[in-house]
């Protein structure tokens, strides 16, 4: 055999896939290794010495597409490898899915021309949709469905017609995994164009051509360009995936993707729909109205109103801070005037610590109203004869003048102040909303992306870390003020859409003045 210009296959040994009986496990292991042990430069999506340049990748993409159109089996395998994010040794063992359920973590459905990846196998333990869910949540699945380029689907279908018994890529294309890289005519650079290097560059290419990092990770299977947490919280619709794929294929010269396959979004299955959030807010308003102590208030009525109010305020605060379910909502009365606060609800990353969280306008108003409410409550309690020296009064007094004390505090049965926990809020909300304790994080991950906020800023806000991309390291060039301004703007737009605003407590009758 003469040495072909296209050096990928060496033998036609189609029995290679039979050597390892558990390709699914290996695939899973490969993806998990790439996800959890990524290099810093991979996270930064900057092509380094382990990558090819973007121009080389584009040129290679066009060359591969040309050869796929000529039904070159090696080029088909290379395109498939680049699409699946797998080296050739794994790509040749990809299985074809029949119409029924998928048999492995990653399969090719040739009938519809899509790749199907089981995200649950990759990131196990994702929150599943509750049984009582009744249309309040976005329906989503753990199966990532991505289109193949039309040219590849056509070429593969033609091969299937010739080899109907083939069950995997190796058998279908008659190629093995021994690769030597792709040699482009007239391109003899020292850093050669190889399949592993091209695979390392796919994520960077997706980011550079303007695809959001999360979507880029999904459409290239280069999961290193986004934090792992994203796969638990974010959700991407089929339309988004098809649009991102079309952009990527266009960049590589691979033509159009296959026709869109309608179906469920991939990712978080507990993201509430906008209407649910609006209803949830209305329910907060109604609860607060129902607990109004009235003109002739009693001590118990005042305290009950306060309990409801702090729950409403804490709900809004936890929603607007994208807070995790914790025992204590750490908000200080001293933070009321600050546009940014230091907040930590989980010890994550190499250097666990606070993150700079923007306090959006609505939350600022809400915190201010809580402070006013504390002052008004204190006045009423004093009118009812409660001693100023009691712990409750002291706490309310300190909160109302902005001392460094917890701002949103509940009152227990012994009439003592008590921290409010976000877990407790979850049990307070009606079950028919089917909201998870962490639902704001699920909600914002997708809602902010829909408003065009880059993934890195969303991650900054929701305290997700990615190796090499620490926003507070001295290698970062984004200012806290600039990042927060962009996040704030997107949050405020979403809040306006949802009809969410700050809720006033007792202070509405005192005109919001601080005592």
């Amino acid at each position: 055999m003469t040495r072909p210009e296209f050096l990928l296959f060496v033998s036609n040994d189609a029995s290679a896939s039979a050597a390892n009986p558990t390709p699914a496990l290996e695939l899973n292991k490969y993806f998990r290794n790439r996800l959890f042990y990524a290099r810093e430069r991979a996270g930064q999506a900057v092509p380094d010495h382990r990558c090819n340049t973007l121009s080389m990748l584009r040129a290679a993409g066009q060359e591969i597409a040309r050869r796929v159109r000529n039904e070159d089996p090696v080029a088909c395998l290379q395109m498939l490898a680049l699409l699946s994010g797998l080296p050739a040794r794994h790509a040749v063992r990809l299985q074809f899915s029949p119409a029924g359920p998928t048999k492995g973590p990653l399969v090719i459905d040739l009938h519809t021309g899509v790749l199907k990846l089981d995200l649950d196998a990759l990131v196990p333990g994702r929150a599943g949709a509750p049984d009582a869910e009744n249309g309040t949540l976005h329906q989503a699945t753990g199966e990532l469905v991505r289109p193949l380029p039309e040219i590849l689907a056509t070429a593969l279908r033609a091969r299937v017609a010739a080899y109907p018994a083939a069950s995997d890529v190796s058998a279908l294309l008659g190629v093995s995994a021994q690769t030597e890289g792709l040699r482009l005519p007239g391109h003899d650079a020292p850093i050669r164009l190889t399949l592993p290097r091209m695979l390392n560059t796919m994520g960077a290419l997706a980011v550079t051509c303007g695809i959001d990092r999360y979507l880029g990770a999904l459409v290239t299977h280069d999961f290193r360009i986004t934090p792992t947490g994203k796969f638990y919280y974010a959700r991407a619709s089929r339309e988004e995936i098809w649009d991102a794929s079309a952009l990527l294929f266009g960049e590589l010269g691979w033509g159009a993707p296959t026709a869109m396959l309608s179906g469920l979004a991939v990712g978080s299955a507990v993201t509430p729909i906008h209407e649910t959030v609006t209803r949830w807010f209305r329910w907060l308003e109604e609860s607060l109205d129902a607990a109004n102590p009235g003109r002739n208030y009693s001590l118990s009525g005042l305290l009950e109103h306060h309990r409801v109010y702090v729950r409403c305020a804490a709900s809004i605060a936890s929603f607007l801070l994208a807070a995790r379910a914790t025992k204590r909502l750490r908000l200080s009365a001293a933070d009321v005037l600050d546009e940014t606060i230091a907040y930590q609800d989980k010890r994550v990353g190499e250097f666990p610590g606070n993150s700079a969280i923007t306090v959006c306008e609505t939350l600022q108003q809400q915190l201010h109203l809580v402070q006013c409410h504390c002052a008004a409550l204190l006045r009423r309690l004093l009118r009812l004869g409660v001693q100023r020296t009691t712990l409750l009064c002291k706490c309310l007094a300190a909160a109302s003048i902005g001392k460094d004390v917890p701002l949103i505090v509940d009152i227990n049965r012994l009439h003592r102040p008590q921290d409010i926990s976000t877990n407790e809020l979850h049990s307070w909300w009606p079950a028919d909303f089917a909201l998870e304790p962490n639902w704001p994080r699920h909600f914002w991950q997708s809602a902010l992306r829909e408003h065009g906020l880059p993934s890195s800023l969303i991650d900054r806000w929701v305290r997700h870390t990615l190796a090499g991309c620490d926003p507070y390291a001295n290698t970062s060039n984004t200012t806290v003020v600039a990042a927060n301004a962009r996040i704030n703007a997107a949050v405020e737009v979403t809040l306006r859409e949802l009809g969410i605003h700050a809720l006033a407590g007792l202070s509405q009758k005192s005109g919001g003045r601080l005592s």
């Binding site: 900057v46 650079a189 303007g210 600050d338 250097f351 993150s355 507070y472 001295n474 970062s476 806290v480």
Partner: protein, 926 residues
């Protein structure tokens, strides 16, 4: 004295942690933003008039303005900046002030209008005590807590954390300080002139020689004889204060040694370079070294360094390797000598860093300060100047290579070792550019296995050149190299003959000389171009953070710059290479201030125009009043409104740069070895144009060479027309046919045999016409096919005399005499078990043989090795055998050893060289 800035410890300050790659991670504390908010309130108060009306002394106001509006956040910096205000200057349409930070790095700010407004009230000269008192007074007034100064500075740092990117926050808090450009560099840009600082003369030529030897020599070769010589030179007795003449004498002795460099190993050559450097420029700080110091340096370190490094490749050694070697050497010295040894090692390593760009190595000693990055850049007008010089330079291969090297190094960040070892195929044109005009090229920095390893794994990278002129230069050079038959795997700056880097020393030194001449700064070197590219790219990236509003690509530009610079993290890129950050700080602070609401009345105070004018402008321009007020305030900080200020060039000694003379010098003199290579290419049938390109020779000169060679070797036996009327192509063809003769013509490959090394060196040293003509005459008389026929005694005697002068060992020569029966009557071949018998004693004992033996004995003072062989057809009766190894006594050497076709090649080259010299009226061949 500790060199680290005293860190403030405060619960409000962001916590920090340094990771394994030197990156500093910050985490805000609960009070951080609260303090930042309080500091913003202070800024508002100051803006609303308290900066002017508060009951504070002028210096306290100024200190407050520096803290609040210039983000100077450490006490040391505020005090230094206050003192430096007297020396403020105009640069880039801004008023700038420079001072030295506690860590020794230069810092600088472009001042805002608020500070400039207050300067008029302050005394011209501010002492440190006054500055401290002013700072203290402001701290008391601001009343942020106790201690007063520290509290307000902490608040300023907290505010800086919110409005500056962490890269610049780490700078203003001195956690990871950057280094600003010195004023001399700014003066160069401001005036377009060069500094007129003295540059050590002659150093570059010496270093070219040394570096050539270092790059081309073997790693280890023989004994460290050069080290002994250097020690002897350094030990020469001198008075304590050596005069210039004494130093010069030592320098001359070192230069004399450099003639012998071909016999030294690579490391010794480098050591010679170091000693010359020490003699010429002094120590690290530029002061002339005392004789004792030079002696101590050489005696403490040279031999130890040679022992540890002689067998290692310096270019592939990492920082850890160097540190291990230096620690080992330091351990071997006595405690008393330790300090001198460390000082010497530091000087040695800074020499390596300067000329070979080796990695920094920390040489442990508390008494020696760590080196700070040399902040300097080459401005665009200086690059343009160099390009113009090179365009008007005389045509030579070196000048062309310099143009290409400059085109590459001006457009991307590349190290000198990377540049020298670029392969032809490293220059790639992206596919997108192949269809139309080339808009950019990619350079793959990835050396061959045989080349020196790179500085680090991250140094392997692809850089992009998008400057049209640079692309044209590079592409043209690549085409020329292809025409010279360079293969894709060959070096871009390769020698067409040897394949090694072509004149690496001359190229390195030439680049350095050009940069030094264009800037007038003796500290500028090729490495400064790296600082230039990174500084420009980083300034753009940092400004990007200031301007970024709707950047769609989710990438950190600092990381991209870091990858292109070949660094593992952006920390190195920032801390060592970034020098132009002041515009970014200025712009970011402007943006932060513009968030503050200010009334037209208050704004009018700072803008210097009336409030009604501001309002009118806003309505006229249809812009918000706030924006109009802030743009007016920004305009106030422009240097044009402070015309009386001195410029950046006020105290600098500047002059118009002079074009380096060597650029316009005529062609370098062609050596005999060059002619040998040209004749070899002719023998291989290469075209004249190709040879001209490969040897950097004008075609007219090549025609002369061909004609002379034709006259010497072809014309005497060729019945053709007179050579002067012949076309060069005809001569070349005839010459090629003659030279290509397999058995009798000169053999240019054999000319490289080691037995001719002495001859080569002797020819390089002795260029006296008379001697050379005698040698040529002797050769022409004795040449017989591939042998040297000794039948003509005077010529044979002359030849032996010259061989002795060349340094040929007597036992490498033999006199062969053919006697006895012809080969056709030779005895039957030896039977199995039969021993060969020596030649009969009477064979070859004729009178002439004896005469030759006597002549040999007289010349060499040793009896000749006489060999008697059977006569053969085509061989003379008496001929000379010249071997690379001692000739076995009495036995006939193999036929190949008897061939002197290599010698004929040398002599032909010498004949042509002499003919050219004669034609040029006694000057060397052009």
């Amino acid at each position: 004295m500790s060199l680290r800035a005293p860190q403030i410890s405060h619960p409000a300050l962001p916590a920090l942690k340094t990771d394994s790659v030197g990156r500093i991670r910050y985490r805000p504390m609960p009070q951080t933003f609260h303090m930042a908010t309080r500091f913003e309130q202070l800024q508002r108060r100051l803006l609303y008039g308290e900066l002017i009306s508060a009951p504070l002394p002028p210096l306290a106001r100024l200190a407050g303005a520096l803290i609040a509006f210039e983000c100077i956040t450490t006490a040391h910096d505020v005090v230094e900046a206050l003192q430096a205000l007297a020396d403020r200057y105009a640069f880039d349409d801004k008023v700038s002030v420079d001072w030295l930070a506690h860590c020794g790095r230069q810092d600088s700010r472009q001042l805002h209008g608020f500070v400039l407004h207050l300067i008029a009230d302050t005394p011209t000269l501010i002492t440190e005590a006054e500055a401290r008192a002013g700072l203290e007074a402001f701290g008391q007034w601001a009343a942020f807590g106790t201690p007063a100064v520290e509290s307000v500075l902490v608040a300023a740092q907290c505010w800086a954390f919110t409005v500056l990117p962490p890269a610049l926050y780490a700078h203003v808090t001195r956690d990871a300080a950057l280094t600003a450009l010195p004023r001399s560099a700014k003066a160069r840009k401001h005036t377009g002139l060069a500094l007129s600082l003295p540059v050590a003369g002659g150093q570059e030529a010496d270093m070219a020689n040394v570096l050539n030897r270092f790059h081309l020599a073997e790693t280890a070769r023989g004994t460290p004889w050069l080290v002994s010589e250097l020690e002897q030179i350094a030990t020469r007795q001198e008075s304590r204060n050596a005069t210039h003449a004494q130093r010069r004498a030592k320098l001359m002795a070192c230069r004399a040694l450099s003639v012998e460099l071909p016999h030294a190993d690579a490391l010794s050559a480098l050591m010679l370079g170091w000693v010359i450097n020490l003699l010429q420029t002094g120590g690290v700080r530029g002061k002339p070294l005392r004789p004792n110091t030079l002696r101590n340096y050489t005696h403490r370190t040279l031999r130890a360094l040679h022992t540890h490094l002689a067998h290692r490749d310096l270019l592939t050694m990492s920082r850890n390797d160097f540190e291990a070697v230096y620690n080992e050497i330091a351990r071997e010295t006595t405690p008393k000598q330790m300090l001198i040894a460390l000082s010497a090692l530091r000087s040695w390593h800074s020499f390596l860093q300067k000329w070979l760009q080796l990695p920094y190595a920390r040489i442990h000693s508390d008494d020696i300060e760590p080196a700070l990055p040399a902040a300097n850049i080459i401005w665009p007008h200086e690059k343009l100047r160099i390009s113009q010089w090179l365009r008007s330079a005389s045509e030579s291969r070196l000048n062309t290579m310099l143009s290409v090297a400059c085109a590459i190094a001006f457009s991307c960040r590349i190290r000198i070792s990377e540049l020298l070892h670029l392969q032809m195929r490293a220059i790639c044109t992206p596919e997108s550019s192949k269809s139309g005009a080339v808009s950019e090229i990619e350079i793959h920095i990835s050396p061959r296995l045989r080349d020196p390893q790179q500085k680090s794994e991250s140094a392997r990278r692809v850089v992009t050149v998008d400057d049209a002129a640079a692309i044209e230069t590079i592409v043209r050079w690549k085409a020329q190299r292809s025409f010279e038959r360079a293969l894709p795997n060959d070096l871009l700056f390769g020698d067409p003959i040897t394949g090694n880097v072509c004149q690496p020393g001359a190229l390195t030194v030439g680049l350095n000389q050009l940069l030094k001449a264009a800037t007038g700064d003796p500290d500028v070197s090729f490495h400064t171009l790296g600082h230039t590219w990174v500084s420009d790219a980083m300034a753009e990236a940092l400004l990007d953070s200031a301007e970024a509003k709707g950047r769609s690509i989710d990438l950190n530009p600092l990381d991209s710059v870091s990858v292109a610079a070949g660094h593992r993290t952006a920390t190195t890129t920032l801390r060592v290479y970034t020098h132009c950050y002041e515009p970014a700080i200025h712009t970011l602070l402007d943006r932060a201030f513009s968030r503050i609401s200010i009334s037209s009345v208050e704004g009018a105070r700072w803008a210097g125009v009336s409030a009604s004018a501001l309002r009118k402008r806003a309505s006229l321009h249809h812009t918000p009043l706030k924006d109009e007020i802030w743009s007016a305030i920004r305009l106030r900080s422009s240097a044009t409104t402070h015309a009386a200020l001195p410029s950046a060039a006020a105290h600098a000694d500047l002059c118009e740069p002079l074009t380096p003379g060597w650029l316009s010098a005529a062609h370098s003199q062609r050596s005999i070895a060059d002619l040998l290579h040209i004749l070899r290419d002719l023998a291989q049938g290469m075209g004249l144009n190709e040879i001209a390109s490969r040897h950097d020779t004008p075609i007219s000169c090549l025609h002369d060479i061909v004609r002379h060679a034709y006259e010497i070797v072809v014309a005497p036996t060729h019945r053709g027309p007179m050579s002067k009327t012949l076309r060069p192509e005809y001569c070349a063809d005839a010459l090629c046919k003659y030279l290509a003769q397999q058995l009798t013509g000169p053999c240019f490959r054999a000319a490289l045999q080691t037995k001719y090394d002495g001859l080569t060196a002797w020819l390089a040293r002795n260029q006296q016409d008379e001697t050379l003509h005698r040698l040529i005459d002797a050769w022409l008389t004795t040449q017989a096919g591939r042998f040297l026929d000794l039948k003509h005694f005077p010529s044979a005697n002359e030849l032996l005399d010259l061989l002795h002068r060349v340094g040929t060992p007597a036992d490498h020569l033999a006199l062969v005499c053919a006697a006895g029966r012809p080969r056709s009557h030779a005895r039957a071949p030896l039977q199995e078990g039969e021993q060969p018998t020596a030649a009969p004693r009477d064979w070859g004992r004729d009178k002439y043989s004896e005469q030759l033996s006597l002549a040999f004995k007289r010349v060499f003072s040793a009896a000749p090795n006489r060999i008697v062989v059977q006569p053969r057809r085509g061989r003379p009766a008496h001929y000379l055998v010249w071997s690379s190894t001692p000739v076995s006594i009495g036995l006939e050497p193999p036929s190949a050893r008897c061939s002197l076709r290599g010698f004929h090649a040398w002599m032909l080259a010498l004949s042509v060289w002499l003919a050219l010299r004669t034609a040029n009226n006694g000057r060397a061949a052009p």
